[in-house]
């Protein structure tokens, strides 16, 4: 149908407008709102590209959590905007950077368009080997079986990033709690939201994980929704972030990668390869890893948003 490309053109057009706005905007908090809108629109683009799993991820992490992080940072940095506005690059520098960036972008575009037409793809191979894990969703197959190493290393990246964020705490506050969220006004709308939304969010998060075996979804997307819900509760002041030094919290933070390592080494000891699953046990084992993963990733993402500990660990 001729109309469909018009739709894509329009979606792409709006995405570009928002992207230009995010870069050009005068002050940063309106640029951040533009970025949140950009994240929502990107979810549309990913659905048009036939990748609902990635649309979920982009919507959840791209615009949800990253948006919340940037909004918090923009609010706190509003005072510092004057100090750096003086260093704006001169007109000549800007045009030079713009020209070079255009050339690089054009080179990538030309390269993209010159890719071979019967595009080489691993889809047939992924479909042929889907039987090994008994999972219907090809992307979960790739993440948890074919390229399980990338997924395991990625959870290690999350732990290292969290240690990096925690290392920015002042020495006195080590082992304490991240920034104190305000005791919101009890009858206010935020507390109402914090009481109604999280149950819905938890149900949706578990649903997204459970459905990921055969339909678009996944542990990361589910974890992001749980993390967002926990942050809403924290924001409303109904709960408080646990101390950084608490043992149970740390166990929860490494549960995902540790379970992954144990299953991987188990596969090695049972004669198969590292990170291989026993033949008819693949599906339950993968779901077990995913449940350990969803708790770990949700806690890690929420603590990454909460930031380094700033209050000493008073009871």
């Amino acid at each position: 149908m001729t109309i469909v490309p018009a739709l894509d053109l329009f979606v792409a057009g709006v995405v570009l407008i928002v992207a230009v706005w995010t870069v050009v905007a005068r002050d940063s908090s309106s640029a951040v709102v533009g970025f949140v809108a950009y994240g929502l629109l990107l979810a549309l683009v990913w659905v048009r590209l036939g990748a609902p799993d990635v649309a979920l991820t982009e919507a959840a992490i791209g615009s949800g959590l990253t948006g919340a992080l940037l909004i918090g940072a923009a609010a706190r940095l509003r005072a510092g905007e004057s100090s750096t506005s003086a260093e704006h690059l001169g007109g000549v520098g800007r045009t030079l950077v713009a020209a070079l960036a255009t050339i690089v972008a054009a080179a990538i575009a030309v390269a993209l368009l010159s890719l071979p037409d019967p595009a080489p793809s691993l889809a047939p191979e992924a479909a042929a080997n889907a039987g090994a894990t008994g999972l219907g969703n090809p992307i979960t197959n790739v993440l948890m079986a074919f390229r399980a190493m990338d997924t395991m290393l990625e959870k290690f990246v999350l732990v290292i990033a969290l240690v990096g964020v925690w290392s920015l705490a002042p020495d006195g506050a080590w082992g304490g709690r991240p920034r104190s969220y305000h005791r919101a006004d009890p009858e206010g709308a935020l507390v109402f939201l914090a009481r109604v939304l999280p149950p819905l969010g938890v149900v949706l998060g578990i649903y997204v994980l459970w459905v990921s075996a055969d339909h678009p979804g996944g542990a990361f997307q589910g974890a992001t929704i749980l993390a967002a819900m926990w942050l809403v509760v924290l924001m409303a002041g109904l709960g408080d972030v646990p101390e950084v030094g608490r043992q149970q919290l740390r166990l929860m933070l490494v549960a995902g990668p540790v379970v992954f390592l144990i299953v991987g080494l188990g596969g090695l000891l049972l004669g198969g390869a590292f990170l291989s699953y026993p033949q008819d046990w693949a599906k339950p084992v993968i779901l077990a890893i995913e449940f350990a993963m969803i708790l770990t990733v949700a806690a890690t993402l929420a603590l990454l948003v909460a930031g380094p500990p700033e209050r000493s660990a008073e009871p």
Partner: protein, 96 residues
Amino acid sequence: MNEFLTVMVGLILALLALGLVRVLRGPGDADRMMAAQLIGTCGIAALLIIGVIGDISAAIDVALVLALLATFAAAAFAECARRAQQPDTPPETEGP
């Protein structure tokens, strides 16, 4: 039917672009929050229709997640805006 829906999506996206103008001109944080909320809703509506056009049933799940997280982002925005205005004083306890 798909042609009609495509036109509708085109219209919704146009309204979304218009909503952005308010973000551009919005003086206060309140305007920006409202614009973000409208953009969220337009995005969800467009997504639902696109899901039907390309008959991707998962688009509804994406819309669900988007609805949840647009609320979360708006709540984060409101909280930070409120705290930025009076960082340490406890919130006034006036009724809703």
